[in-house]
């Protein structure tokens, strides 16, 4: 799976949890998940669990903590998929 496929699926999973719809309209790898999309921290747990289901991977809290942007997410998932 290439990075753009992963990003498409990441954004699809994030979409229902995004508070700032304007930021979502111009989403890119550099978009910050907490600051730009304003995904709330409890919803972020649902997002991470949905990533685990979608890509059949396990994501530790330490991994999540190191993620800031959509691009970080794509990179993390890409690494887990090998």
């Amino acid at each position: 799976m290439d990075a753009s496929d992963i990003q498409e699926r990441v954004v699809k999973i994030l979409t229902p949890y995004v508070k700032d719809q304007e930021a979502l309209a111009s989403v890119s790898a550099g978009t910050n998940i907490l600051e730009d999309l304003k995904v709330n921290s409890a919803r972020l747990v649902d997002v991470v669990l949905a990533f685990e289901d979608e890509f059949d991977i396990e994501i530790a809290d330490e991994d999540v903590d190191a993620v800031n942007s959509v691009g970080d997410c794509v990179e993390l998932i890409g690494k887990k998929l090998g």
């Binding site: 921290s41 409890a42 747990v45 669990l49 809290d61 903590d65």
Partner: protein, 230 residues
């Protein structure tokens, strides 16, 4: 150091069944899940535990910037209360070797948790508040305005004596006449509510020029403010 967290219980995200099926297993300890299984008020208790963890994380992160937001590693222990007495709870949140004192106020609408370093508590004064946030108003701005207004009123100072800044994403509080490290602030917003909590060293207030921070004995060690639009 202080941390707080507010949860709007009417928000679609907090409604029963709105979470991922593995949500509880991911964020709660075995003891917390057992308490949820036994509680007649499990839906509210779930967000009490969550808010407790997040408030302790906010305080812990200020003590050690390497702290990881791993909810299950913040273990919440509530003091025994009657099965329906979820309104005002005390307890402790443990994270590794650290222990945070916990106070939680809740009703059918919301939960507001406050966590502060058990060690520093005797030497500090606390003030916190929750307000409803008008529709269309940016929550980040609303919570800062509320905190500034209420902290000024608490101290008998002018609002412009209260300066809220940020260090990275963490809010900072400076009160005119007090040393920079004497006051700490935590902010939270969710759904219809904004909430803030502030901790001030007693000794710093004692030594402060009276006009800068006109604190007096009429203020208790802990003060709670609640304002809602009608």
């Amino acid at each position: 150091m202080i941390g707080n967290d507010v949860v709007d219980l009417a928000h679609p995200a907090t409604r029963p069944g709105a979470q991922h099926p593995r949500f509880d297993a991911r964020v709660f300890t075995g003891a917390e899940r057992a308490a949820l299984a036994q509680s007649p008020g499990a839906e509210r208790l779930r967000w009490i535990f969550w808010a407790a963890k997040e408030s302790a994380y906010k305080a812990a992160r200020k003590l050690d910037s390497r702290t990881v937001w791993s909810p299950a590693r913040f273990a919440v222990q509530l003091e025994p209360a009657g099965p329906r007495e979820l309104t005002a709870l005390c307890g402790v949140v443990r994270h590794g070797a650290l222990a945070f004192s916990l106070r939680v106020e809740s009703n059918a609408e919301k939960v507001h948790a406050l966590a502060f370093c058990a060690r520093s508590a005797p030497d500090a004064l606390y003030c916190d508040g929750v307000e409803s946030c008008a529709k269309g108003v940016k929550a980040s701005a609303a919570v800062r305005a509320a905190a500034r207004r209420e902290i000024a009123a608490w101290l008998g100072a002018a609002p412009d004596a209260i300066c809220i800044g940020r260090r990275g994403r963490i809010p900072t509080l400076h009160i005119a006449g007090l040393p920079g490290e004497a006051a700490d602030l935590s902010l939270s917003h969710h759904g219809r509510f904004v909430a803030w909590a502030c901790e001030i060293e007693r000794a710093a207030l004692r030594n402060a020029p009276r006009r800068a921070a006109n604190h007096s004995a009429r203020h208790g060690a802990m003060r709670r403010v609640e304002r809602h639009a009608v």
